[in-house]
């Protein structure tokens, strides 16, 4: 016996519904969309993540170095092992300032794949001198 396909209006509607869902799903998981994401990356770069790191000098870990988000007062300092966990989740293109008195300040830009910062600090080679001012009146040396 031959089966005959009958297109009742109800069946047509439900088929259309499935097609619509399928289309929406295929758009959502479209691999092309994912690739576009990788190059222009508005989604991933905005994804905030926790940044950790370690700060050292030529002798080893640097304790009490400060790490601050540029243009803000959000920051932290390193522990005795030179380690830190930045208190605020960061996104790509954020800039961290790493400072330690007597060392050159370092700016680290957060890249797409940055999660850990390993930073060596170099000493600012300054020579310390000092002349004090005084309000003691000048006195000529006179032969007695």
């Amino acid at each position: 016996m031959k089966t005959q396909l009958k297109f009742t209006p109800k069946k047509v509607l439900s088929a259309l519904g499935y097609v619509t869902i399928l289309m929406v799903v295929s758009v959502m998981f479209n691999p092309v969309y994912g690739q576009a994401n990788k190059t222009s990356s508005p989604e991933i770069s905005q994804k905030e993540r926790t940044i950790k790191g370690v700060i050292k000098n030529e002798e080893g870990p640097l304790e009490s170095a400060s790490i601050t988000l540029k243009g803000s007062n959000v920051g932290t300092t390193t522990n005795s092992k030179g380690e830190f966990v930045f208190p605020k989740a960061l996104k790509t293109d954020d800039v961290l300032l790493i400072t330690f008195l007597g060392y050159d300040t370092v700016e680290v830009k957060i890249k797409d794949d940055t999660t850990f910062i390993n930073q060596m600090m170099s000493e600012d080679l300054i020579e310390f001198v000092g002349a004090l001012n005084t309000n003691k009146p000048y006195k000529s040396k006179r032969p007695n």
């Binding site: 601050t68 007062n73 000092g130 001012n133």
Partner: protein
């Protein structure tokens, strides 16, 4: 014609200095500095941020940094004298001098963070670091400084550091160490005494007791013609000169030889008007000192001109005072 030239030099030509910012009241910046008093130095970016956040102009932001450094960092006399002694001792041994400098740098920075104490390079360094963090261009200037107790014959290597700062496209000078205070002359204990005059001072006045290792930091048009010898020969000016004077014009030299009854002219450009009754000399002839009123005192357009003649032969130390403020010292050898 001479009058015109005079006007041209002193009125039309004005160097980059505090008066460029006459419309700005620094009280707000000073209040911000006061608010963060006793803040420690372990987080400079945060300190720089806090000091500058609510201020509208670069000059106010820099002022807050300058005032903070000058009122929170103490001058360490012990460190200063130890360093001077070692540098003098090792001055002909470059290896030992280098080792000392490295060791001293580390100790100095440690002390600065831990105790908020330093010597002048520490002040200049801190001002620069904080300014850098606030995106204000600032340099440390190393050079020679001269005070009433400087042994001029021994001044063979830079002994002081100060700052140059770029504001609205122009360079200005300031000396945070000398602005912070002075050691008590008898106990040598440092006493905070903020002297606003060292903030963006007139380069002409600054050059009387500061001579940079690199002459470009004189910030003078005639920097190339300005010699170290002229600096050494210039009069002694005190901290209070910066508080009272825009600049010092005459006499140009510390040591002067004149004849009996010869008229000597003293000329200054004032910051504010003064009561001519309060202008005096303290003259020391070697056996006693006495307060003497100048023969004549005139003020015109903020210029103060004094004349004086010595009646007797002798050798005199002449200290110039405005009220209680000691401004400058000269010596006069008076011949018959």
């Amino acid at each position: 014609m001479i009058r015109f030239l005079f006007l041209f030099i002193f009125v039309f030509h004005s160097y980059a200095q505090i008066s460029d910012f006459d419309g700005i009241d620094f009280k707000k910046a000073d209040r911000v500095a006061l608010k963060y008093k006793n803040e420690k130095l372990n987080n400079l970016p945060e300190l720089a941020h806090n000091l500058t956040l609510n201020l509208a102009t670069d000059v106010e932001r820099f002022r807050a940094i300058f005032t903070w450094v000058c009122s929170n960092i103490a001058n360490d006399y012990g460190m200063f004298s130890k360093n001077m002694y070692k540098r003098q001792r090792f001055k002909n041994d470059s290896v030992k001098l280098k080792n000392w400098n490295t060791k001293f740098r580390k100790a100095t920075l440690k002390k600065l963070v831990k105790n908020n104490k330093t010597i002048c390079t520490g002040y200049a360094y801190l001002v620069k670091e904080l300014a850098d963090l606030a995106n204000i261009k600032c340099e440390i200037v190393h050079g020679f400084a001269k005070t009433s107790t400087t042994n001029i014959k021994k001044i063979d290597a830079p002994n002081h550091s100060w700052n140059a700062v770029k504001l609205d496209g122009k360079w200005y000078l300031c000396d945070p160490t000398w602005a912070s205070g002075i050691p008590n002359p008898t106990t040598f204990h440092f006493e905070f005494q903020f002297n606003d005059g060292f903030f963006l001072a007139n380069p002409r006045l600054f050059a009387i007791n500061h001579f940079p290792a690199n002459k470009k930091w004189l910030l003078l048009d005639d920097a190339n013609e300005t010699s170290f010898e002229a600096f050494i020969e210039s009069p002694i000016i005190y901290g209070k000169a910066y508080a009272n004077l825009n600049t010092h014009i005459a006499p140009e030299k510390m040591h002067n030889v004149i004849r009996k009854n010869e008229i000597v002219t003293f000329k200054f450009k004032l910051k504010d008007t003064v009561d001519v009754k309060n202008v005096r000399f303290l003259i020391d002839n070697g056996s006693n000192s006495s307060n003497i009123s100048p023969n004549s005192v005139t003020t015109k357009n903020n210029y103060l001109t004094l004349t004086h003649a010595f009646k007797y032969r002798g050798f005199y130390d002449v200290h110039f005072y405005i009220d209680k403020d000691l401004i400058s010292t000269y010596t006069f050898k008076v011949k018959s």
